[in-house]
């Protein structure tokens, strides 16, 4: 085991995948000499050459569209989108081509693309640099969508995503890039299935579902809640499409209460789907309606106000209070 930052763990995962399979190529803006604006591809062009780590022209549709062509040719492209807010020019290629080609060709053409997207806020960035577009992709049939929350998962899940024959949109919680954790570099891609959720902390009173950057916040909230005598079970979703409902369902059947948190807007965010699906599966076990603690239905605000958009420990605990029928911010509305 080695202590690595999240970013270095991703770098190691890329390196490992490239060593394992010569068809793995990286494509993106500034990923070569610069190593990407977050340095995730640092050193890889030097070691693997310009034909495997490809600096591309500044055109996201072009990047994804040519990656589709590379996949036709037998390559396994890993695309870097520089920031979350810059994926939309590639939306058509992702939704109409990447997601649909396997279906369109009755399984004859595979699209083993990995589309890496640093996502989420909390780093004081300008507009378009802090978005959470995951719901757009999780709503799109044909794509798999995942997000690791810690260095070990970053390392393993990235390799699993690259090895997967289906296209995977890989959301990296950029505000965790510099956080460290133990990584089993010798373990390769061994680990829980790419589509599975993991219970990060056991608890009995309420199930708290998070993914990406908010898993850490959720764990902190669980620790804080302990002092108030509340036992929170924290589930790291990891996979956003498919959602591992078996794990969430089993947990909610134990706790009877569910809180989901994410940075994305509330309306039609992952929380909506999870609340709806868990209500379908656990209706008679639920003691309170599932609670969502999410970003608001607003464009991501300028950075001086971002903490008023992002769920934090206090907002999550307020949500837990709501789910537990304890006094909370909305108590005055009841009755």
């Amino acid at each position: 085991m080695s202590a690595l930052t999240f970013g270095k763990a991703l770098n190691a995962g890329l390196r490992h995948s490239m060593e394992a399979d010569s068809k793995v190529v990286l494509m993106g803006e500034d990923i070569g000499k610069l190593g990407g604006v977050f340095r995730i591809t640092d050193g890889l062009q030097k070691d693997f050459g310009q034909h495997r780590v490809i600096d591309t022209p500044l055109a996201e549709s072009g990047i994804v569209g040519t990656a589709v062509g590379m996949a036709y040719r037998g390559f396994r492209p890993v695309v870097e989108i520089q920031f979350d807010g810059f994926v939309y020019p590639a939306f058509d290629q992702i939704v109409s081509q990447v997601a649909k080609l396997h279906y369109r060709t009755h399984g004859q053409v595979s699209m083993p693309l990995t589309i890496r997207i640093p996502f989420g806020g909390g780093i004081g960035s300008p507009e378009h640099h802090s978005e959470s577009p995951e719901a757009y992709f999780a709503h799109t049939a044909g794509l798999r969508v995942v997000s690791p929350s810690n260095p070990q998962d970053a390392y393993v899940m990235l390799q699993q995503a690259i090895a997967c024959n289906d296209p995977v949109v890989f959301f990296e919680p950029k505000r965790r890039y510099h956080e460290r954790g133990e990584v089993d570099l010798d373990g390769g891609m061994a680990g829980p299935d790419l589509g599975s959720a993991v219970i990060r902390r056991r608890g009995t009173d309420v199930t708290l579902v998070a993914y990406g950057a908010l898993v850490k916040t959720a764990l902190d909230a669980a620790t804080a809640a302990e002092d108030d005598g509340i036992s929170i079970e924290v589930i790291d979703l990891r996979s956003l499409s498919p959602v591992d409902y078996a794990t969430v369902e089993a947990s909610v059947k134990r706790t009877g209460r569910l809180v989901v948190t994410h940075e994305a807007a509330q309306t039609l965010g992952l929380g909506a789907e999870i609340a709806a699906s868990i209500t379908e599966r656990c209706f008679y076990h639920l003691e309170h309606a599932p609670v969502r603690v999410t970003g608001f239905d607003i464009p991501y605000p300028y950075s001086k106000l971002e903490m008023h958009h992002l769920p934090d420990l206090d907002r999550i605990l307020d949500g837990v209070d709501r789910a537990m029928d304890r006094p909370n911010s909305l108590s005055s509305l009841e009755g």
Binding site: G65, T66, G69, D92, H106, V109
Partner: protein, 373 residues
């Protein structure tokens, strides 16, 4: 100031003019020295065959056997010229109108047509034919071709990629980005634009106020503007472009100037937006008649030529009609197949539930679906 040239009339490369006369062209001539009378006859037969497939498509749509059909009428020379220039392992990324290319690749006509019946989204295995299946999103396939060609370069292959698209497509960002990528990596790709003068109801002048062939030059990609109704010129131009690709000289752009003689699709009514005179003008430049005149000039009997081609076309058409009408409908549960290549828990559950739902009708002993209630 660097000035655009504007729409000029000169500059259209031709080897056989509308009257069937062979016109010399220094640049193209060397590329067709091997094309003898037999080869020309072959091109003629090809054009007749795909025109027939196309007519069958229209007829089958009228009879309700197809939901829709996008005719290629008038564009036979462009498609056969290009198609017969390709090697089998060059990879084709077409739009939805490239019936002729599929024919050149040995795709059974029924496989080309069944997509338009609604029985499938793809009629053939792209890797079996080295040809992607129809692309409906305008221009998207040009990026796939550029990327495939980048792949050829990276894995050291000797093939080329070629992509087909229309005049309207040149306005799409994707097509322009494809040129950026192709030029940047000097990828072995051929951009083959069939300028058939119309994008549904919009004339080409709305998309571009200069020749389409001027566009790529500004991206660093050389271009050829050929008479798209001259099969020999299309063959030569494509050979030149492919040779450039194979010899490490990067992308080439071909504008084949032709005309969509039919409607955009069978759902379209071109009388709403275009002049019948225009049609007459282009009828006089018909690609098949032109080659017939040329071959007559070389001493071939036109009636005999036509009869020979008809034999081939008739056979294709007969097989096609039988196959299409005999097509089995797909199975309900097929909707769930091939969304993913590996299990997907959410979808698998939906499949399971829908199977139970379907089962009800079977249980109810109802012969037709939807009759349980």
């Amino acid at each position: 100031m660097s000035q655009p040239a504007g729409h000029r009339d000169e500059g259209l490369i031709q080897l056989i003019d509308p009257s069937g006369r062979r016109t010399p062209n220094e640049e193209l001539d060397p590329w067709v020295t091997d094309v003898d009378v037999d080869a020309l006859r072959g091109l003629h037969t090809d054009m007749v065959a795909i025109r027939r497939i196309d007519q069958e498509g229209t007829a089958l749509q009228r009879q309700g056997e197809l939901a829709l059909w996008p005719p290629l009428l008038g564009q036979e020379a462009a498609q056969i010229g290009a198609g017969r220039a390709l090697e089998d392992d060059d990879f084709i990324f077409p739009s939805y109108r490239e019936t002729g290319l599929a024919y050149c690749r040995g795709v059974d006509a029924e496989d080309t047509l069944r997509v338009w019946r609604g029985n499938a989204y793809s009629g053939w295995d792209p890797f079996g034919k080295n040809m992607a299946t129809p692309q409906i999103i305008i221009g998207a396939q040009t990026l796939h071709a550029a990327g495939y060609a980048m792949g050829i370069k990276y894995d050291g292959g000797s093939q080329a990629a070629i992509t087909f698209f229309g005049d309207g497509a040149t306005s799409q960002g994707d097509v322009n980005e494809a040129m950026v990528f192709a030029a940047s990596y000097q990828a072995p790709v051929v951009f083959f634009c069939q300028n058939n003068h119309w994008a549904i109801s919009e004339p080409v002048e709305l998309q571009s106020n200069t020749h389409i062939a001027d566009r790529p030059v500004g991206f660093g990609i050389p271009s050829l503007r050929v008479d798209g109704n001259d099969v020999l010129a299309c063959l030569a131009a494509t050979r030149i472009a492919l040779d450039r690709a194979r010899t490490g000289n990067g992308p080439t752009f071909i504008e084949a100037v032709t005309y969509r003689m039919g409607p955009h699709t069978t759902a379209d009514d071109p009388t709403r937006y275009r002049d019948a005179n225009e049609l007459d003008l282009w009828a006089a430049k018909d690609p098949i008649e032109r080659l017939e005149k040329h071959l007559a000039g070389l001493g071939l009997d036109t009636a005999e030529l036509q009869a020979g081609a008809a034999v081939v076309a008739d056979a294709v058409a007969e097989k096609l009609r039988k196959a299409i009408i005999g097509l089995q409908d797909p199975q309900p549960m097929d909707v769930f197949e091939n969304v993913y290549s590996q299990p997907h828990a959410t979808l698998d559950r939906q499949r399971e539930h829908y199977a139970l739902y379907q089962q009800q009708f079977a249980d109810a002993g109802s012969a037709t679906e939807g009759g349980a209630r």
